[in-house]
């Protein structure tokens, strides 16, 4: 039987394929750079300040925690740098320095180290930190308020706010091309759709993230948005808008598939991803929050261990 091939094991010594946490993290950092680059081009040196401060302070908190708990310093694995970078992708370019410092503290200490460090966090650390920050200081993370002093070459209102307030007519201000090319306001590294898609495809090809999570998530967004639009086309925007606006793409490629907080079995991954997509659009369309992706990721992180109960029957087990 062909399936028996998977059980063939050669004798030692074994050869390590080189894959490791550091390599995965640095590949993810590379994948995030195109999207961040456009943010830096649009918002200039203040954006550079946010990114560099987020990465460096995230590394500082991890170093401090390692020292305080007398554990080996693990800065070289790139984990803290990656988390700082992902946090920078989600925030506006004008976020104050103390919010970055607080955000990286929440990410590294509350979101990850308190649970035992890398691989032990039940929630995506950055998403947890962003939710705490955005609930605590809503105006700082309201993109419409944060970016009032930028003279941009496109309409500087947050697309999801427009749709939430004015219904689907508001979505007509933003073409799919605008959303793909980053001609709308939002998180520093969350608006350049093409850059995020390119980075996401790279991560899927390298199997650093699992398509079994990302693709069902996008399908969940599409199907749910289509259902809403079919029910009331005046009130709810179409699926393409929801796929390209807000945190959808950054969530699909950089948040939802995080190793520690997502399921490991295939069927569980599909349910996890699809459920995340459904939740995100439900929160956007009938919840009080403008964007539902972060909350959807947190909710799906919460059910991830339960979903992993759906597992293949053990080989050789009878009955």
């Amino acid at each position: 039987m062909a399936s028996n091939r998977m059980f063939i094991v050669s004798h030692a010594p074994f050869w390590h394929n080189g894959s490791g946490i550091a390599r995965r993290n640095f590949a993810t950092i590379v994948a995030a750079l195109p999207a961040l680059a456009l943010g830096v081009i649009q918002y200039g040196l203040p954006a550079v300040g946010v990114v560099t401060l987020a990465v460096s302070t995230a590394m500082f908190w991890e170093w401090l925690l390692c020292k305080a708990t007398r554990r080996p310093v693990t800065l070289g694995d790139g984990n803290a740098a990656l988390l700082g970078l992902v946090l920078a992708m989600l925030v506006p370019a004008t976020v104050p320095w103390w919010a970055v410092l607080t955000g990286t503290f929440l990410t590294i200490v509350i979101g990850q180290q308190i649970f035992g460090g890398i691989g032990s966090n039940p929630f995506h650390p950055v998403v947890l930190a962003m939710m705490i920050l955005s609930i605590s200081w809503a105006t700082i993370f309201d993109f419409n308020a944060a970016l009032v002093n930028y003279d941009l070459s496109f309409k500087a209102v947050y697309p999801l706010t427009v749709v939430k307030t004015f219904g689907s007519a508001g979505a007509e201000q933003f073409s799919a091309l605008d959303l793909l090319l980053g001609r709308h306001i939002g998180g520093l590294g969350a608006t350049f759709g093409l850059g995020l898609i390119a980075g996401g495809i790279y991560l899927m090809i390298r199997r650093i993230i699992r398509w079994e999570i990302t693709v069902p998530f996008l399908a969940g967004i599409f199907v749910t948005a289509l259902c809403f639009q079919t029910a009331d086309a005046n009130r709810f925007a179409g699926p393409m808008f929801h796929l390209l606006a807000g945190y959808t793409l950054v969530g699909a490629f950089f948040l939802l598939p995080e190793d520690s907080s997502s399921p490991v079995n295939t069927i569980a991954m599909v349910i996890y991803g699809f459920g995340g997509g459904v939740m995100a659009v439900l929160i956007r369309n009938i919840g009080v929050y403008v964007d539902g992706v972060l909350l959807a990721v947190l909710v799906m992180n919460l059910v991830s261990p339960l979903l992993d109960k759906i597992r293949p029957k053990a080989l050789g087990k009878v009955g």
Partner: protein
């Protein structure tokens, strides 16, 4: 576990990034332009994002259409300088009013609160020219 050599490299990178970050925040923070582009008004009934630049450039509004008092360039100041967020009985007039008026002359005339001033000014203007959201259309200006 990171080797000593790698740790030195990574720590150096972190320190450099930190210095760059502090420098960018200290020297290149986004500063408000002389003339506002957009003005954000937080409100319990839904925030308002006023498109100042669009009103001036795209809708050809004259500065004095909104900055109506005293009717010359001296009135080109922030609305909140004459229209405080809240006005209670017995409140002294705003400092901006006292720059021109004597206290005795205006202390019997309470200032118009910002929200009331905006609702009247914006609503009347929109109604007068038949464009923009009317005062009765709350969600035309206020968003969640």
């Amino acid at each position: 576990m990171t080797s000593e050599k790698d740790l030195k490299v990574v720590t150096s990178v972190a320190v450099i990034l930190f210095v760059v970050g502090v420098f960018c925040y200290a020297a290149y923070s986004a500063k408000p332009p002389d003339e506002p582009l957009r003005i954000f008004y937080p409100a319990a009934t839904g925030n308002v994002l006023f498109q100042h630049k669009d009103h001036v450039e795209a809708y050809n509004a004259d500065c004095l259409d909104c900055h109506h008092h005293p009717g010359d360039d001296s009135g080109l100041m922030a609305c909140s300088q004459c229209h405080p967020k809240t006005v209670a009985e017995g409140d002294p007039p705003p400092d901006a009013c006292l720059a021109c008026h004597e206290l005795d002359d205006i202390q019997d005339q309470p200032a118009v609160a910002r929200a009331d001033a905006f609702h009247k000014q914006c609503g009347d203007c929109h109604q007068g020219i038949g464009a923009g959201p009317p005062a009765a259309d709350c969600s035309g200006c206020h968003y969640l």
